[in-house]
Symmetry: C2
Subunit: 447 residues, 2 copies
């Protein structure tokens, strides 16, 4: 048996990196719960038929089956597969449990998802997502589109990530614009797919694709002009109107997008800019209005780390439809590249703030009692695994970045040493606590 | 599309049940971190070859593969499968990352695991486990066997579960006893497997199996007598010695087991009893010394909810061996039966403690500002989704169990109403906070 090697696309973190990830997850949970989102988790698998119904994703699904299944294999409609996002499972959860939920229903969901992609830089086969969504019955009020951006902006501002641009667009606006240009259903679909590749293939590439789809020069130029529009406020309206295209769907989408910009005006800041970016399209079929993407400034090549949108028809049981809007932070996608470059670090990889030394093995219970007293007041504490010389016990703490070592004294007294400064003082296990800053590992960023 | 049905063996929780589960996970994390365990998560998949090497489990593995994989199928050695526990992945993680870890290494791990079992009452195909383990290089000190029981006893005492019996045994003790009876390797294995079924097939069933394995009447009687032994303290020694069997391995195991009982004497209490139970065997191959099981009093039929043991040879890279000891709480296994019987409940299924009413839609931002002020002081707050009549907005809160509704007044003042008592008072968004007990959902148990 030799040392195992990592599996490409399945990232795992060392303990100090995991401390950073836990900090991120704690910030997300606190932000989401302060905004009244309830936690939901769904099973990891869905029927393959449910996943494939959502299109575009069939190559990326991992099918699961029992090793000694009775059937010889072959994917039937009841086969199970690992979920590739948290939106489709949530839509299924809502329809399945509608009778037990109160609408509008607000939930957050933090779980791993899996995609059977060919591994490449920045692509993961298993990764952690953190989603918020609001769904209602029949109709969902438009102010929730604003709320999603506000809540995620609050979370992003508090996270140990670089400053971000939260880019918003509206599918109705884009579709209405294309229809106003005279494109039919096929032309609208082709234009959406082409513009979605603007980042990758550039304006010339998009032009070529659009011409191949039958658009004339004026239509191509208008599509590209729309995709150039950026705005942080209601000046958006004038910019779009200047393009000279009119359509009822365009007006509806534009009004919705301006409402989002107006609604986030007071959360614009150094850490988060919310920007209307009319090139944002989002690949997934099921979005019907507002769409979101997010890029970290200076790390745009990592792609969108936080995406979502409004889906008015995803969740339905045939009689009732549950329209929703949501946004999903790619925790792994945003964090792992920063962790592997050493740009976000934790001061230690263990929660322990104190190691209680053991004088001799027969007196371990005395050290256990000190540890119990410290823990009772919320101080994470380890007892030294050996009764080695004190120098060795201090090195045990030092190698782990644990700041304090506690020494039971022969006379029944106690001393505690800050091993960074070397300062050693008398202390009482019933009252001593470390400074607040040392109580848990500190997370530090550098960009 | 009709309403989807649940998948047998893949439990999902409603929001108020999830509040209870989150409370359980919070207690576990706090307890484990106070004892200096670092959080680790591993990927959900392992090479099938790694999982099968551990034996006994091959029928229960879920294999995963890409829907459109290039190979036509067929399980080769590099096929991936979902992990069935957290011990085997952790052992792999330790050998893979040994150069980056400090030993002894203490970690906790809370993740889902999957077993492709035929569904039946109390058996899950996907479930949540919470593990603690300590591993060292070459040799792991015996006091860690005591520590595992102490830490898990502290966690169990704080959890919303019925009182538990944490049952401890020692494989060396049992094997030494069987060898002292004159059994050979085959006889020892057969006796271990037979006694492990005592719960299910009773003493007569075990006797029959043992006789079929070639044991004589005296040997059978001695095996059954050993399995009857129970003790909470060092009276264990006299009970075992009274059976008149001697063997060096028996003496070694007995001393280790007595050390565990001595080491937990001060944590024995109403909520948790730690008991030497010499019928406990544990199915998994890899345990080599101390073994743990745990049963909830009054719910013994649910089986062991918290199990583990010492594994001296599980983690090795060929040159170095990393002996470990650990214990795993089956969160789903313990909690879901209690939740579905309504024995553990949360006071509400949302974190929100306050709903801020909206006077009219055009004044939503005034209500947003109140909510922001409350959230800044840690009060989970929703803004009403509609500007309906106040009676309807109060019902919105009432149906969700949210205790307070906040009313911005026409004169610019504010009032807050406790909708349980009906009491409504003037309040300042910059200073008001709800009583501590209302700040988060309360978890209540009844047995």
């Amino acid at each position: 048996m030799s040392r195992p090697a990592p599996l490409s696309g399945f990232p795992e973190l060392l303990p100090a990196q995991r401390v950073v990830e836990q900090h991120v997850l704690d910030v997300l949970r606190r932000t989401f719960e302060l905004h009244g989102f309830a936690s939901v988790e769904t099973r990891a698998v869905e029927p393959l038929s449910v996943l494939l119904r959502k299109g575009e994703i069939d190559k990326e699904v991992y099918v699961v089956r029992r090793l000694h299944a009775d059937d010889a294999g072959g994917e039937d409609a009841d086969a199970l597969a690992l979920h590739f996002d948290l939106t489709v499972p949530f839509a299924r959860y809502v329809t399945e449990n509608a009778g037990h939920l109160q609408f509008p229903f607000r939930r957050y969901q933090v779980q791993r998802v899996w995609r059977g992609e060919r591994p490449q830089e920045g692509r993961y086969r298993e990764f952690l997502q953190a989603d918020i969504d609001v769904v209602d019955r029949d109709v969902l009020a438009p102010h929730h589109d604003v709320e999603m951006a506000r809540v995620m902006a609050a979370a992003l501002a508090a996270l140990p990530l670089p400053p971000v641009r939260l880019q918003v667009n509206n599918r109705k606006l884009v579709e209405g614009f294309y229809r106003g240009l005279g494109l039919d259903d096929d032309g609208v679909g082709a234009a959406m797919r082409a513009v979605d590749k603007l980042d990758k293939i550039g304006a010339e590439g998009v032009s070529a694709v659009l011409r191949a789809a039958g658009l004339d020069d004026a239509q191509v130029a208008a599509c590209l002009a729309l995709a150039q529009v950026r705005a942080e406020d209601s000046t958006l309206t004038a910019q779009v109107e200047a393009l000279g295209v009119t359509h009822p769907l365009l007006s509806e989408g534009l009004a919705e997008l301006v409402a989002v910009l107006d609604g986030v005006a007071d959360v614009q800041g150094e850490r988060v800019r919310v920007v209307a970016d009319l090139s944002v399209a989002r690949g997934l079929d099921y979005y019907t209005g507002t769409v979101y993407e997010t890029r970290m400034e200076g790390y745009e090549s990592l792609g969108s780390i936080c995406s979502g949108g409004r889906y008015d028809a995803l969740a339905t049981d045939g009689r009732t439809t549950y329209p929703g809007v949501g946004i999903s932070l790619g925790v792994t996608r945003a964090l792992v590249p920063l962790l592997s470059r050493g740009l976000v670090t934790a001061s230690r990889g263990t929660p322990a703030a104190v190691v209680v030394a053991v004088v001799e093995e027969a007196q371990r219970s005395a050290s256990d009692a000190v540890a119990a007293a410290l823990r009772a007041r919320g101080v994470p504490t380890e007892v030294s695994p050996t009764a080695a010389k004190f120098g060795k016990q201090i090195r045990y703490a030092d190698r782990r970045g644990i700041p304090f070592v506690w020494f039971p004294q022969e006379d029944g007294g106690h001393q505690v040493k800050d091993i960074r400064s070397g300062e050693q003082v008398d202390a009482d296990p019933a009252t001593w606590t470390p400074p607040e800053a040392d109580l848990r590992p500190a997370v530090t960023t550098s960009w």
